[in-house]
Amino acid sequence: MKRKGIILIAFLSLLTTQSFAQGKFYTKTGKISLFSATPMENISAVNKSIVCLLDSKTGDLQFAVLMKGFEFKKAKMEEDFNSDYVESSKFPKSEFKGQVTNNSSINYSINGTYKAEVTGKLSMHGKTKDITASGTVAVKDGKVILNSVFNIQLADFDVRVPKMYIDNIAKSIKTTVDCTLEPLK
């Protein structure tokens, strides 16, 4: 009886790791930070309500970002960002739909940090652009942690900066993704 029980437990635990390995992972509290560095000043903003969904089986990766959710230290910068640069009332949502291109080299059931390449379409400010980013996928006790740093060119998304601030805002914005995904039940 005892042996049967052990086998059953072993079988069940195998099943659960299997379901982790093949399942979907998500978060609604992912973080994306923007950083603009110029000799005049450094400006940073963070959005803490990023929705992210990863299908570990296919490598499909999706992000949804509400543009009004970026928090700046200074109110004026946040207001300018929303009204003049990304026009968030007109374009409230930004989206990324893509794929982890080397998904087969990531083992979602074994703890570890894997290098990852992601490519897909980023929609923002009414424009859609193909982008590629590299980063890491860390698997830790059933959670999946995504980290990536890449640059977004303002011109690619038709984001215009008023002449007055042209020296204060970088043309290329450093974008940092930090999302801890949990298994989707």
């Binding site: 509290t29 929705v51 509400l66 009004k68 959710g69 230290k73 004026k76 300018d80 003049d84 949502k93």
Partner: protein
């Protein structure tokens, strides 16, 4: 370019131009020069003040709209573009059942309001200076939260729809 200047700076700029014109007409030039210096001083001071302004803590700001969490969700689900027009950028005060509280690795709290039977929620990202308050609210109690509405995440990934509030503070919680 002028349109993005704060109002106070625009006014001082207008006064400056006016004074310049007066300077060439009248004889009391010293007095006008004195006024110009004062005007520039006020303009720079106001400009700096506006440039360095930070957001007010929502516990001291009056809400634009008060609404029950379930009604808010329903409005966004029925017509999200109309609801966006009505609620985006507004300070909302919403009351609802606290479904869950999440804390992330960086220590940020999110309160999730709505019916436990529904996939849809109002997600309130807490103001970083009020994080401790979030840990004290019991799940299942009724809570009132004030925050800035940043939009609606329509359910496109099978994760449920959410209305998002930012910089939230807890106004009161009834057990």
């Amino acid at each position: 370019m002028i349109s993005i200047l704060p109002l106070a700076v625009k006014i001082s700029l207008a006064i400056f131009i006016l004074l310049l014109i007066i300077l060439f007409v009248v004889k009391k030039r010293k007095f006008i020069l004195f006024l110009i210096v004062i005007d520039i001083g006020i303009g720079v001071w106001q400009g700096q003040k506006e440039y360095n302004r930070t957001y007010k803590d929502f516990s001291n700001v009056k809400a634009d709209i008060k609404i029950a969490a379930n009604d808010l969700i329903k409005e966004f689900e029925t017509n999200d573009s109309a609801a966006n027009k009505k609620y985006l950028d507004k300070t909302l005060e919403t009351t609802g059942n606290l479904k869950d509280v999440t804390k992330d690795d960086a220590g940020y709290f999110t309160l999730i309001l709505g019916d436990t039977t529904s996939m849809s929620s109002v997600r309130c990202s807490m103001d970083s200076t009020h994080l401790k308050d979030a840990a004290t609210v019991p799940i299942g109690s009724s809570v009132t939260v004030r925050g800035a509405c940043t939009g609606f995440n329509k359910d496109e990934m099978g994760l449920g729809s959410d209305v998002i509030l930012n910089r939230c503070v807890i106004i009161k919680n009834q057990n």
